[in-house]
Amino acid sequence: MYRGSKEIEEKGRVDWFIVTMYLIFVVLGWVNIYAASFDLENAVSMFDLSGRAGMQLVWIGTSLVLAFVLIKIDTSFYETYAFVAYVIGIALLIITLIVAPDIKGSRSWLVIGPVRLQPAEFMKFIIALTLAKIFNVYNFHLMERKNLIIVFTLILLPLVLVILQSETGTALVYLSLVLVLYREGLPGGILFMGVAAILYFVLAIRFSDAQLGMLSVGEFTAIVLIIIFAAAMVRNYVKRRRTAFIIIGLALIVLAAGLGMHFFNLQVDPGLLALVALGLVTVYLAYLALRFWKKSYLYILLFVVGSFAFVESSEYVFNDVLQPHQQMRIKVALGMEQDLRGSGYHVGQSKIAIGSGGMVGKGFLNGTQTKLKYVPEQDTDFIFCTIGEEWGFIGSTVILVLFAVFILRLISMAERQTTTFGRVYGYGVVSIFLFHLLVNIGMVIGIMPVIGIPLPFFSYGGSSLWGFTILLFIFLRIDKGKK
């Protein structure tokens, strides 16, 4: 971003742009926590320590001290002690698992006297640091098997521990670090397969009821997508445009044949047609793989077959592997259930609260839905409701845009790092913030299933604010010290 002489001038300075945004976020968060926890009957001052806003002020104050300290520490300290931190982190997670009391079904809190800490929160920046350190080794290539194993183990070990603590949301945050891996060379195909898998799953579940011949609408659409994906892959990886056209052509011929038969008053099952088309594509790919003896064809063939298997098994997985409350959350997110009193209560009420905000909102402290506690967890995971209700479309859009600017700035900062360590850590920060925003706001506005993770800087809570502050300010320190 900064080039030439300006870069030299800027060297050694804290990125005040991000620091300013950070301050804006925590202040807005504090104000909204006051609004969200405002009790009509006994309103306390924003500074009263017996209230949530007052306590958040304490967390903000301590976070600022923390930030100051983090900036003062030398970058090499973070590099040197990354592994140590990781080992301590894992140890803490294990201890937590053993000694943590059950708080609302979660066993993730470490209670030491009056202080309650959530080690899983701090594990986020520790994993990011550790990844950065590993990637920083000279001539490190992610796609070497040994490296892949190390990297995935690094991520999956704490992930499993946190799942055991019943903090699925936080576990998914760790998984978001795959985005870092993507930036560092993980084939895009893997990322694409992840997206494709989610797409197939959503299609198979959402449209499992409507039938199209022998297949459900979901299965039918998924097969159409698989064929298109296969053609696109052939075009991209084998660079044979003609073969791609042949694949699409095969599908179209089958479709045309079906329509033709229909025209002659012959009953054709559209489901069967799709299966025939898919079968033909599979056979054709197998033929190509054998004929040209090329790995690419084999992979594409595997993708097609695997995709189909995934589609066919996702309904089974959904119904028989997932817990009923998880099924319900997904159904609510997919708009298949409206049950406002049951599982859909959270989302239903939060949509009502946001929706009732209108264009400009009801104004500070005037939100009825959040004040009257219709929205659960309104000052933690559902804090965005208060923003939506009291500041309306304009206010919530402003917050969204601010967050987007924040993340884009972090991306550009990560890219300007002179060390792999800095860049990888920077992308770790980007991934974690992006995932939090994606899931938290998505859940509150009813696009994502309910996964309990906080909105950075806004949700009430010491652990979460400290966690995000540490995550961010270590990066600011690294950025400041870049050569």
């Binding site: 009957e41 929706g355 009732s356 009825t368 939506g388 479309f393 890219e415 060390t419």
Partner: protein, 640 residues
Amino acid sequence: MVNDNKSYGKRRYVIASIVMIVLLVYIVQLFNLQILKPEYRNFADSNAFFRKTLYPARGAIYDRNGELLVFNQPTYDVMMVVREMKQLDTLDFCHTLNIDKTTFLQLEADMKDRRKNPGYSSYTPQLFMSQLDVEEYGLLQEKLYKFPGVYIQNRTERQYKYPYMGLILGYVAKVDKNKMAADPYYVQNDYAGKSGIELSHEEDLRGEKGVEVLLRDAHGRIQGKYRDGEFDKSPVSGRDLTLAIDINLQAYGEYLMQNKVGSIIMIEPKTGEILCMVAAPSYDPSILTGKNFSQNYLQLEQDPYKPLINRAVSGLYPPGSTFKPSQGLVFLEEEIITPETRYSCYGGYPPLGGRPACHPHASPLNLQPALATSCNSFFCYGLNAMLNNRAKYSSTIEAFEVWKEHMVDLGFGYKTDIDLPSEKRGFIPNSKYYSNAFKNDRWNAHNIISIAIGQGEILATPLQLANYTAIIANRGYYYKPHVVKARKGAPLDTLYSKRRESNIHREHFELTVAGMADAVTHGTCRRANMEPYLTVCGKTGTAENPHGDSHSLFIGFAPKDDPKVAIAVIVENGGFGATNAVPIGRLMMQKYLMGEVMPQDQELERTIASRVILPFAYRRNAPALRIDSIVTRVKDVQGE
């Protein structure tokens, strides 16, 4: 350690694109929720706002002298929010409300039964039990903290100072589905007037409900007023009504009419105000309030004497000889007769072989003595002469239509538009009616001659007779009769303040009045003669009917030259007009105009009041019942 891994550098754009896509999708969804879907706002409002209805006090009702008749007393309904009820101590609850467990379960089942209570919801207050009195309320209020989810809703209940005129005042009860559908003002469990003045003046009396907008949290707990009551609306009390009725006169009339079926109506001719309206049998209005409403209502409904029918406005009777003055008026107006025209009578109407029969009197007669002696033949001759007058009318049918128009001008055949519900219009046939009945147009006066003497097809309500008497008393004009004299804070409907004409010349009325005065001084209603204290004009009626003995009728007004009151009395199956209706008329006019009953009439008063005349038509339906007093018996219900 140098950052040499630039080969994947452009992937930053993929990641940045993901950020932008997420941003875009989320903004679209926000737009969708906040701008495109107004239902969320409504949803939020019904979520958070608890609109507590504030019930206004229903208007009070006074009599013409400012005597309070109907007022309100606080009463309390027990409401339940089922969702909020946790482990109700049923035993204690039942004990507090003084009900047994079976009743409790029944009430609970009724409350939850969506057929009986269509608006049932476990989240909103539902009526569990209505109309607690002050003592029961006190007991419950004390223990209310023990019963979460139980609330008390204040309401008012009608209270009556006198046990009279239940039919005129009407009663108040819960609104039914039709009423709710017709008028969005009403909601489930609201009360509204169901009969009498309570119904006809419902919109005056009910006032306007207020509302208090309260904030309610997710648990249904009230968190206080919304914006300090900015959107609250105070209830507006109902309008007080002042009746034209004199409660003393009314009470006296009901006393005289006890154990009889019929009615008394007295009108102030100069204003059309109803001074009293007795419909017997009636009931004590206070029995149709409170918890025993259903039980008492059922009993009244099943009573063979039909005490829920206001016979004064909806009873249909042949007017008999009381109809004759109207005939005289029409004949004079149409110049069929002159005051000197004489017709002879030989104990009956000669052209039809002495039918209808008549009683002995001097013959031939002109109009004035014909009215005094109530000669049937005179009016039959008159009608025959009118319908056969081809010099004036081209046909019988045309003549008959003219006759009918005059009857309508005198208030017959159509509703008088009194401010009471369920009024009937009576019956005055038109020519088509007869053409249909005879299946041709060749019918003549002799086919229908009995209408000349108020028999045959003619039917009138007691109110129409009283109104027509008032027209005679006024010598030609009238005001539509009404029971409500004034509404507090609003003028009376112009319907009742507009003078109306009968389209008959005043001199014809003078002659008719003279005839009616003669009837009192030396004719058929001598028993109404109160000379020298009062100059009364009157006309008796003895209406033959298919239900047994003739109905006893009397119409009259007094004083003759400056009429202050017009009256119509009907005693069903009371025999000759002179036997029952005339003495009742005498006593009523005396009571009203002289303030009290003269000592020499007190014997008559006792005789009349103790007379029991129970029409067979009703007795037939209840052969086993031995009835001493209808009114008393109905009153007993209250004591049960």
